[in-house]
């Protein structure tokens, strides 16, 4: 059977499964809609959190980035897992004890302020929409490449499925579909990784394969990659080129941002107890770690395979996958020196010896442009794996994108129905009406997300830094001080959040949109890139909060009692 038939079968089966689960777990109350009734088993919540968290970016983007950046790509590996340590130790158990439904709930109640609640609602919505746009683009790519339907049709099918289970089941539907989606995505990620690891190194464990010797030639995998890379003028794979302070700032912003993302935090409200919240943070990181420790192996294998396949290959004889990816525009070849062969190398390398070597060989510039998103998706084809594996990878990528999209859409719907309508505009609204608002908001958010998927704004990649920067500079410090500093008051927290957000947003906007030509280490503040600036925003938030707190009234006694109460189970 062809890869396309396999893909249709596997994707159709997985979608049927999600819809069946959604039908079985319809939500009947706001508590079920917002937090799945609060009775989810920690191991299930761990799986759901892992699927919720691991997006199209984790599934197909991350290994691609590492593949091109080598060591520097490690910021995503550490950043997106290290945040769970902060979450498990500093936030999840206490927020679970606090109860309620959302992050703005905590911020608003703890800081006895509607302003704080509104700032939190706004951040939650901006962060979530930023993220959703990326997921929908992932859905579009998979559909257009593997099922050869129009991106528009693909996005409509994908959002249709999310629409049904998010609007019908709310958090309850989402939780159990996410459990299924985790199983699909981890299976889809591991199968090709194991295959390729065995093919290249003979070691069935990809994590170990990365450190093993390759079958042909007997050199260590990573040493081989270093040689292949430097021969083509790239920096050695295991060496970093980013300044360490910037690497540290980005890692920190990603960690803290992860811990402050509302769609992740809200999952910890769904377990029945404080110790359950701790336990599910453990399961979540364990399930995430399976993929995240495999990703560097996938990245390295794919890089080695790719370099060996395309380097100086004759264009008329390239494998079928090459032409298929060219049609999507994610891979493009331009024969600059007219020799009919593919020269893929780093033509920006200023080293005189390297330039002399390139000139002597008649190279006239890099001829191959590769979108890093295709690394994971094209990997099974490059490695010539069986067709069903290709279908599986497509289904896994859809599972990753849809599960994250659903979690984010729920945050948007809850922020609207609960935080805005119920807690601010119409406090006397009935439960039935609130549930109605939540469903309508979820439906509306799905439609907006679909629009973003069909017409992806050019700035999607640029604004991802926003999501983490904003979460790092706003939610994380506010929640942390809310738990660990009993005397932190409304004025301190609100001014801290505002300074943190304004500073971070201004810095990112300045370098990404106002003067993109200045976006280099010479112009950066302390040499820190817009991706890492959330770290500075976070420190500013802490400092401003501490200063303002000293000059304003302490929080009322009942708020201090709440803090006292959430500190122990």
């Amino acid at each position: 059977m062809s890869a396309q038939v396999w893909t249709y079968i596997i994707v159709a089966l997985s979608f049927t499964l999600y819809l069946y689960i959604a039908y079985r777990s319809r939500a009947g109350s706001t508590k079920e809609f917002y937090i799945s009734g609060g009775g989810v088993k920690p191991i299930h919540n761990g799986m759901a959190t892992a699927a919720d968290w691991m997006s199209a970016a984790s599934f197909m983007g991350m290994a691609g980035i590492i593949s091109f950046q080598g060591r520097d790509g490690g910021v995503y590996l550490m950043g997106w897992t290290g945040g769970y340590v902060l979450l498990a130790l500093l936030l999840a158990p206490y927020l679970r004890k606090f109860g309620k439904f959302t992050v703005p709930d905590f911020v608003g109640d703890r800081y006895y302020s509607q302003t704080a609640r509104m700032v939190a609602v706004l951040c939650a919505i901006v962060v979530s929409f930023t993220y959703v746009a990326g997921q929908m683009r992932g859905v579009g790519i998979v559909f257009s490449r593997f099922l050869e339907v129009e991106i528009t049709t693909g996005v409509i099918i994908g959002t249709g499925v999310v629409f049904i289970y998010a609007v019908l089941g709310g958090m309850k539907g989402i939780t159990y579909t996410q459990v299924a989606q985790y199983c699909v995505l981890i299976f889809a990620y591991m199968v090709p990784a194991i295959f390729i690891s065995i093919m290249l190194t003979g070691n069935p464990v990809p994590q170990l394969g990365l450190g093993s010797e390759v079958k042909e030639g007997g050199a260590y995998m990573l040493d081989l990659l270093d040689t292949l890379s430097t021969d083509l003028g790239f920096h050695a794979y295991t060496h970093g080129v980013r300044p360490v302070w910037d690497v540290a700032a980005i890692t920190c912003a990603l960690m803290v941002g992860t811990a402050g993302l509302p769609h992740v935090i809200v999952r910890f409200y769904t377990v029945p107890s404080v110790s359950g919240a701790r336990m599910s943070a453990f399961w979540a990181l364990l399930f995430i770690a399976i993929l995240y420790t495999t990703a560097p192996a996938v990245a390295a294998f794919a890089r080695a395979n790719l370099l060996q396949t395309v380097t100086n290959a004759t264009y008329s004889e390239v494998p079928a996958w090459f032409s298929q990816w060219e049609e999507t525009g994610l891979l493009s070849f331009e024969d600059k020196n007219g020799d009919g062969r593919i020269q893929y190398y780093n033509d920006a390398n200023q080293d005189a010896d390297f330039q002399a070597m390139a000139a002597a060989k008649g190279w006239q510039g890099n001829e191959l442009t590769i979108d890093r998103d295709i690394i994971v998706l094209a990997n099974p084809e490059i490695a010539q794996l069986p067709n069903w594996v290709i279908g599986l990878v497509a289904a896994g990528c859809l599972a990753a994108a849809l599960s994250t999209a659903a979690g984010l859409l729920l945050v948007i719907s809850t922020a609207f129905a609960h935080d805005l309508v119920k807690r601010c505009l119409k406090p006397d609204i009935s439960e039935k009406a609130e549930l109605m608002y939540a469903r309508v908001a979820a439906g509306g958010a799905v439609v907006v997300a679909a629009y973003f998927g069909i017409h992806p704004p050019d700035y999607v990649a640029a604004v991802v830094a926003f999501a983490f920067g904003l979460a790092a500079a706003s939610f994380f410090p506010a929640i942390l001080m809310g738990i660990f500093q009993k005397k932190m008051n409304r004025e301190g927290a609100v001014s801290g959040m505002i300074v943190g957000i304004v500073f971070t947003a201004a810095y990112i906007i300045y370098f990404k949109f106002v003067t993109p030509e200045h976006n280099n280490p010479d112009h950066w503040l302390f040499g820190i890139s817009p991706e890492g600036i959330g770290t500075i925003g976070m420190f500013l938030n802490f400092i401003v909060s501490q200063i303002v707190m000293r000059f304003t009234a302490p929080p009322p006694q009942e708020v201090q009692d709440i803090v006292e109460n959430i500190r122990t189970p």
Partner: protein
């Protein structure tokens, strides 16, 4: 029901566990994975340079270990100070 003194003692014990674990967390990621990575690259384990490995895999394994220990330790502390939920 735990007394206020027990709850306070539990909180203090929690803070001690937390801070130790966060020091380890920062050491393996920012320490071994970033600032000390070049120095650690001199040590090789099989095909891995240690600094590279810490940044790409090692730190993640330690993170999982940190949370596992925290769950276990806090469960003991909860019982010890009578604040356990079951």
């Amino acid at each position: 029901m735990a007394t206020p003194e027990q709850r306070l003692a539990h909180w203090r014990a929690n803070l001690r566990v937390l801070s130790t674990l966060l020091v380890i967390w920062a050491f393996v990621s920012f320490g071994c994975g970033i600032f000390l990575a070049d120095a650690l690259d001199g040590i090789r384990i099989g095909g891995f340079k240690l600094g590279f490995w810490m940044g790409q895999q090692g730190s993640i394994f330690v993170f999982v270990g940190i949370i596992a220990y925290y769950v276990w330790r806090m469960r003991k502390l909860d019982r010890q100070y009578g604040v356990n939920e079951d």
